[in-house]
């Protein structure tokens, strides 16, 4: 019954930093990433800063040049689309950005910002666009009287609502939310999340929900993908990933979530050593091996394959196929001691 | 750093090539030539033709350019049409004067401009700030030659404490050098003082709100060190940029100023050459000033690397 809306296959994105008289430096920000999103589904994308989440989100919308791979949205292959055709295809997919302060043109009124997609795609009259904009403004929980104000007159949460109104103006199928709530205070954040959820069920939207706050991702996502240094290292149904992480990185990430309960102060925390390596000079083999407690010889040699996991999803880790051979079992079944012995 | 310098010098080469071509073209394609002026008070057509021939004005344009350029590369900018003097030595003769004038002007701009700007920036909104701002606005608005004229009338004619015209080289007498240049330099400096003061004020007030200044303050640093070390180095980039722009503008302004003060510099030479259609001289001056400005820009750019190591890295 799968109703695939978005299909991303082996997508890579490479940035070139050109400098006169210097070698061009290339950063492969996204490396052969694949995933799919069903209609009405939310895929959470998590990972540390610089891991390539935003770039992935942009690549799916073809906002950055895609070096290789295929992207299909609603049956339409975007890979070779360009210019006018691409602009036309954009009506089905929209984006909500992280920073509510910079994602709205400060020189345009709220109504003007919201009507932009309507004018562009439906070529409606200014009056009609405005009428629809007013509807949308109320739909996202603002008042119609706000229509002619400028963004600086609004709080972050309100701006994010405006951005959402703009994103849903054309009844898209798919929205990329890039850290859409990260800049907001906790109570405002929840208001926006609730709004997103409401809209999703109401309009059968699919989200690619990018965030670094794992607690929120858990709440909102059906499935979750974890990125590290440009690669998806683990993906699967949210419940499975959170309860039975299969990749050491996922495990460390989850254990780093601050625990609100003072009774259970973290003694089982895995504090990752060191920092994320420079994406321009990634380590050989598995990118995570430099910080991995379970690193084996093979990890430096080969990039692990994606393996299916019990309970759904995939993981790319040598622990699944070499050494202790977890073969789809969660990481929790293993202890560091066991590894060292093996 | 050296590498950067090297690459920057390399990029200047094509730029210079284009610039030299434009300079030559601009001047050489002038309808009618300088020969009338040179052929005496009653020239015959034959005489005019002879002069043209002598000046090499009958060659095709590109050949003329090429001859000029190859000679220029070897340091020979040709000879003046008007008095036969070597263009290079004429420019070299005027350079110390103009450079002295510009240097003194920039020095005044640095001392007064930085002082005014800093005083204003350290007490934003205070009477010092307001006064400095008003002074800067006024200075920006006064025509510099007008100021120069007024200064001469007061200090040279009425008070008789400064010379009205002329130049004495630094080597000859530093005091006289200074006395002869101070009036024109001060008049020229009014706009740079204003620009530098405004830029300094803006930059310093900007930097003062930076987080790292608060960090430094939280370390217990005293104001002198705080401003002298943490603020100034970071505020320097726009100020140095302003200096670069002003240096460029000043080279133009010397044309008028050297005239008013009978200073034997490149500016006076420019004025004289343009009006006597001394094309080799005009071409030479434009080329040399272009190179000079390129170096000023280069120096300014390189200084960015010192003031902001992050720029150096990229």
């Amino acid at each position: 019954m799968s109703d695939r809306l978005v299909e991303v296959r082996d997508v890579s994105v490479v940035f070139h930093k050109k400098a006169l008289f210097k070698k061009t430096r290339s950063v492969e920000a996204v490396k052969s990433v694949s995933f799919g999103i069903d209609r009405g589904e939310t895929l959470g994308l998590v990972g540390e800063s610089g891991s390539g989440k935003s770039t992935t989100g942009r690549a799916v919308l073809k906002l950055v040049p895609v070096a290789s791979g295929d992207i299909t949205v609603g049956g339409q292959n975007l890979t070779d689309l360009n210019g006018r055709a691409l602009r036309k295809a954009r009506r089905r997919m929209q984006m909500v950005f992280q920073d509510p302060y910079s994602s709205l043109d400060p020189s345009a009124t709220v109504a003007a910002s919201i009507s932009e997609p309507l004018m562009v795609h439906d070529h409606v009259s200014a009056r009609a666009a405005r009428a629809r904009a007013l509807e949308l403004i109320e739909l996202v929980g603002l008042r119609a009287s706000h229509a002619d104000r400028y963004p600086y007159e609004f709080s972050g949460g309100q701006r994010q609502r405006i951005a959402i109104a703009r994103a849903i103006a054309l009844n898209p199928d798919f929205i990329v939310c890039d850290e859409a709530v990260s800049a907001l205070d906790v109570s405002t954040q929840n208001q926006v999340i609730n709004l997103l959820e409401r809209l999703r069920t109401e309009f059968d939207l699919a989200y690619l929900f990018i965030a670094h706050d794992l607690a929120i991702v858990r709440h909102i996502s059906h499935r979750v993908a974890v990125m590290y240094l440009g690669r998806i290292v683990e993906s699967g149904p949210a419940e499975r990933v959170y309860n039975e992480p299969a990749h050491p990185y996922t495990q460390a990430l989850l254990s780093a979530i601050p625990n609100p309960s003072p009774h259970r102060r973290a003694d089982r925390r895995i504090v990752l050593a060191g920092e994320v390596p420079d994406p321009a000079r990634p380590p050989s083999g598995c990118p995570f091996r430099t910080r991995c407690a379970f690193a084996m010889d093979i990890c430096a040699e080969r990039m692990p394959e994606h393996t299916a996991i019990n309970g759904g999803g995939e993981v790319a880790c040598h622990l699944q196929t070499s050494g202790p051979e977890l073969s789809g079992a969660p990481l929790g079944d293993l202890t560091a001691a066991a590894i060292r012995r093996a | 750093m050296l590498r950067l310098l090297g690459t920057r010098l390399l990029t200047m080469v094509p730029l210079l090539l284009v610039v030299s071509f434009l300079i030559y073209g601009l001047i050489a394609l002038v309808p009618g030539g300088p020969e009338t002026a040179l052929a005496g008070s009653n020239p015959t057509p034959e005489k005019l033709a002879m002069v043209r021939e002598q000046l090499g004005l009958n060659e095709p344009f590109l050949v003329q350019y090429w001859n000029w350029f190859t000679a220029a590369v070897q340091g020979d900018l040709g000879n003046s049409f008007v008095n036969g003097q070597s263009v290079w030595s004429a420019i070299a003769g005027g350079f110390p004067v103009t450079l002295s004038l510009v240097a003194l002007t920039l020095l005044i701009a640095a001392v007064l401009g930085l002082g005014l700007g800093l005083a204003a920036a350290l007490r934003p909104g205070s009477w010092i700030d307001r006064t400095a701002t008003i002074i800067a606005s006024l200075f920006m608005s006064l025509p510099y030659f007008w100021v120069g004229m007024m200064l001469v009338l007061v200090f040279a004619i009425d008070l008789r404490i400064l010379p009205a015209i002329g130049y004495v080289s630094f080597a000859q007498s530093p005091t006289d050098w200074f006395l002869h240049l101070i009036t024109p330099a001060f008049a020229l400096a009014i706009v740079p003082v204003a620009v530098v003061a405004r830029q300094t004020r803006a930059a310093v007030t900007g930097v003062m709100t930076e987080d790292y200044v608060r960090t430094a303050e939280a370390k217990g640093l005293r104001p002198i060190r705080l401003v002298g070390k943490h603020v100034l180095k970071n505020a320097a980039v726009p100020v140095v940029t302003a200096f670069g722009v002003e240096a460029n503008r000043l080279i133009g302004a010397t044309v008028v100023m050297e005239q008013l003060f009978a200073l034997p510099g490149v500016g006076k030479l420019t004025y004289f050459s343009v009006f006597s259609r001394d094309f080799p001289m005009v071409q030479g001056i434009l080329l040399i000033t272009a190179i000079l400005i390129m170096f000023v820009n280069l120096a300014v750019d390189l200084s960015y690397g010192y003031f902001n190591p992050k720029i150096k890295a990229t």
Binding site: V186, A215, I257 | E217
Partner: protein
């Protein structure tokens, strides 16, 4: 050790003087980690800055209050003496590791500078000490990295460098204004561990500021909750989570996404924080409070000290039974 008493601060703005701190009071003891939490704009930063007199003087005024430290009122201390305390007895680290270090000087130079300012000595010795400190905060190859510029450090490393700078003179109190907010969760965890370790090793008191109640739970001994420029609740961490006394604290706790239930709406606090120039009369939280009664809007509510050493600014603190975290 540090005692803030009824601090009130106004700021000059386009709209005239507005009140941004109103009756802030709390103590930080030796060897104690006190966490200040509250939403954006609640006055956390202003509170922390005012301890060291770093609130911009030109646009601010103190209308009442004291900050007692060592028997001296820091707010009345001559600026020279205050400078001797800054970075020496009390030091601070800031939220933005990216901008809090001066890009024009090496990291080592900036760390050593604090040392030389208060301890004097040769530059070389101070640099060696700076390298030691970098090593202490866990930067590998510290001896070489003192010569790096800030832009050559990652965010986490910069924040470590900031901590090294703050600790080089072995202060008695460290004020950390949202030191982890800009960092990744994994790095945040590292920094929190580091601070706890340093507290254990050096015995300095820490005033830690955050808006993330999750982080609070990780390290706080005592929690001070601020709302709209006021302290609304002070409590031992453990007690606060089990049984908040102020409805705002309750709201904050329940709004943590960790508390959410899939498929249900996340709990929220209705409305938004008031702007400093349009503060509601009476209890500042009352317009958003689900427990508000008529009395709440009438008169300013004092910060009442409760029997168990906790304090709360709510006129119904006695009769409300609020829920903590699950």
């Amino acid at each position: 050790m540090l005692s803030i008493e009824d601090l009130r601060i106004d700021f000059a703005t386009d709209r005239g003087w507005v009140n941004v701190l109103n009756g802030v009071s709390f103590d930080v003891g030796k060897n104690e980690i006190v966490v200040l939490v509250g939403e954006s704009g609640s006055g956390k930063t202003v509170t922390s800055l005012s301890v060291l007199g770093l609130v911009p003087r030109a646009h601010s005024r103190k209308t009442s209050g004291h900050i007692w430290y060592d028997g001296k009122d820091l707010t009345e201390l001559p600026i020279g003496e205050l400078r001797d305390i800054r970075g020496n007895e009390i030091s601070m680290i800031f939220q933005e590791p990216m901008t809090s270090l001066n890009p024009a000087f090496t990291v080592g130079d900036q760390i050593a500078e604090a040392y030389r300012r208060h301890r004097g000595g040769k530059k070389k010795a101070a640099l060696a000490r700076a390298a030691e400190m970098l090593d202490l905060v866990g930067i590998p190859n510290a001896g070489a990295r003192v010569r790096d510029y800030p832009h050559e450090f990652s965010g986490g490393m910069r924040q470590r460098a900031m901590i090294a700078m703050a600790l080089i003179c072995e202060p008695r109190l460290l004020i950390a204004d949202e030191p982890t907010t800009a960092l990744d969760v994994t790095v945040q965890a590292q920094i929190v561990e580091l601070l706890i370790r340093l507290r254990d090793e050096t015995g300095c008191g820490i005033l830690f500021i955050t808006h993330d109640l999750g982080v609070v739970a990780e390290l706080a001994d005592k929690v001070v909750v601020m709302y709209a420029g006021e302290v609304v609740e002070t409590s031992l961490a453990r007690d606060l989570y089990i049984q908040p006394k102020h409805p705002y604290t309750e709201g904050l706790l329940s709004a943590m996404p960790q508390q959410g239930v899939r498929g249900q709406e996340l709990p929220t606090i209705p409305g938004r924080t008031p702007e400093p120039w349009s503060m509601p009369s009476g209890c500042r939280f009352s317009p958003r409070c689900s427990h508000a009664v008529e009395e709440c809007g009438k008169a300013a509510i004092p910060l009442r000290v409760l029997d168990d050493g906790r304090a709360c600014r709510c006129c119904r603190s006695g009769d409300l039974a609020l829920g903590g975290v699950r």
